[in-house]
Symmetry: C2
Subunit: 328 residues, 2 copies
């Protein structure tokens, strides 16, 4: 029997976790929990029960780690602290500014229940954070850069869809290649928001909508688009469905730093991701950290953690001996 995992929430992320579990033979899916009517939810796995969330506590001794796959805006701030008292939990909370508050809420609950929680797991926050942190510890005298994309921003796509006259839309965030090159060349540029990323939008109009008006509304939308160079393409629903249904993403974390008695040597540390499916990659990270949460809990290491607190070996199904012999 493997590590018994439960999935709470069956959107893109929940489906990704379901699929990632199949790639990790030391884990197994035991139940999917949903706010929907279980009979109306069709999951990919055979013979795995779908349970209404109201009955979730009946499962507290049958699940080793609950992977909470809700959204950061309203689901996770409520769900993760609520269930961290009864389950070891993992979430991908990504509202950076609210992480300290979320951490404290989850920590209190986990401590109360002798459970282990790991929050803000994924790639940013997550793998990108780790790389920022490692690079800062190694090169204290340096400068950080993060670029995102090319990839689909769900938040920006949603913002366009809320504009009157828009039937559907997809927005791609694109890093500015020349800015990236300046960083890699050690020029330590000071980059404005506009100099780092551009935004490209594919928009399907409702019948009779005015494209000029929609384009103007997009390009001037505060926070989302006004500080960027934005390109808008109007296309048909067929074209959007055919060419823009995937959810790719990725990006780059760089740190440049100096060493030497006279700071005469420059160094560049670069980490990058190129992902065909943002939710499936995030899910793969969640499952690896679920393994870590299980092991930590078995050792009596309770409370809330982040990726910074987890020794890398906990993520692997391999033994210390194996890792030292084959991966070091």
């Amino acid at each position: 029997m493997g590590i018994r995992l439960g999935i709470l929430g069956y959107g893109n992320l929940g489906r990704g976790v379901e699929s990632a579990i199949k790639q990790n033979p030391d884990t197994e899916l035991v139940a999917v929990f949903t706010r929907r009517k279980p009979s109306e939810l069709k999951i990919q796995s055979q013979n795995i029960p779908v349970i209404n969330i109201k009955d979730i506590l009946d499962w507290k001794d049958k699940i080793d780690v609950l992977i909470i796959c809700g959204g950061s805006a309203t689901d996770l701030p409520e769900q993760t602290p609520k269930y961290a008292e009864f389950f070891n939990v993992i979430d991908s909370f990504d509202t950076h500014a609210k992480i300290p508050e979320h951490f404290n809420n989850v920590n209190n609950a986990a401590i109360k229940g002798n459970k282990t929680a790991i929050i803000s797991v994924g790639w940013d926050p997550g793998m990108f954070s780790l790389n920022r942190m490692y690079a800062n510890a190694i090169l204290p005298d340096g400068k950080d850069y993060t670029f995102w994309g090319k990839g689909v921003s769900q938040g920006h796509s949603d913002a366009i869809r809320r504009i009157e006259g828009v039937a559907d839309a997809k927005q791609y965030t694109i890093p500015v290649e020349s800015a990236l090159e300046k960083v890699r060349n050690g020029e330590n540029p000071e980059l404005t928001t506009r100099q780092k990323h551009t935004r490209e939008c594919f928009v399907v109009l409702k019948e009779g909508a005015d494209p000029n008006k929609v384009e103007h509304e997009i390009k001037t939308m505060p926070n989302y688009f006004d500080e960027y160079d934005t390109t808008v393409h109007f296309i048909s629903q067929e074209e959007l469905t055919q060419n823009h249904s995937e959810i790719p993403h990725g990006g780059f974390v760089l740190r440049t730093g100096k060493t030497g008695i006279n700071k005469e040597h420059n160094h560049l540390i670069e980490y990058s991701l190129k992902l065909d499916s943002n939710p499936e990659f995030t899910s793969s990270v969640l499952v690896a950290y679920a393994r870590a949460a299980f092991k930590l809990n078995m050792e009596g290491n309770f409370g809330c953690k982040t990726v910074f607190d987890i020794a890398p070996a906990y993520l692997s199904p391999k033994s210390g001996e194996y890792l030292r012999a084959h991966m070091l």
Copy 2:
């Protein structure tokens, strides 16, 4: 008072550690230990004692972590187990095949003395190993690639210098760009040794030496050069000194992997380093892990560790609160 560090061995690596300590205000250098006559060793720091290695045990209560900066061939297999009983120690042992044996020797000594040791710290083994391990845990269905360079290989430079007729030499290991591109494009190539790296040699001949003979000897040298496409340039000592005195290095760790119910999505994780000074970068990693060794020892976590066993937050001088608020 900061974390009190000692340096054992004052070559390129020892000098790098000395310089890195100056960049980390929570650490301080308290002594340099050498096999040489202390009066003959001139170090960069003012007012720091240089001590003969025979007196090192007098310092066991005055040093929090001893950073052992010897070579992997003969120094570290003897020194690290020997001193791990009396000091928390860090080394950069890089003979991959002998890591399990070295680990056991150091572990026994550290356990005996209630000390904490971290071995094989640097970038490969070290940061590259970490990235291989994280990427494998996240993408279990995938393929690993490591490329080194462009950079100076000390081992290969030494091998050339041992050839009769050679006065001096520097060898650069260079990754094959087209092979890297194939990996990045998700082609999952099977690459031979020759297809991954080329070798470029800058050689100063002794008077009267036959360049054809030397070039032939280099290119056919077993293990070092025979499996590579090698270029040999004969240059003057002045040119070698002027253009090839630095010790740059770097490289790339990549993992490509698939996710999805039908493995329909591809992902690329890439980590790369571009280092002006290989020993100074390695030293910077050593100092960050010295901080970790000190903290772990204070917590009563004894024995031998590798980078896989150390939670990232231990490397940072910042608090958990700070890291969560600013780097996650």
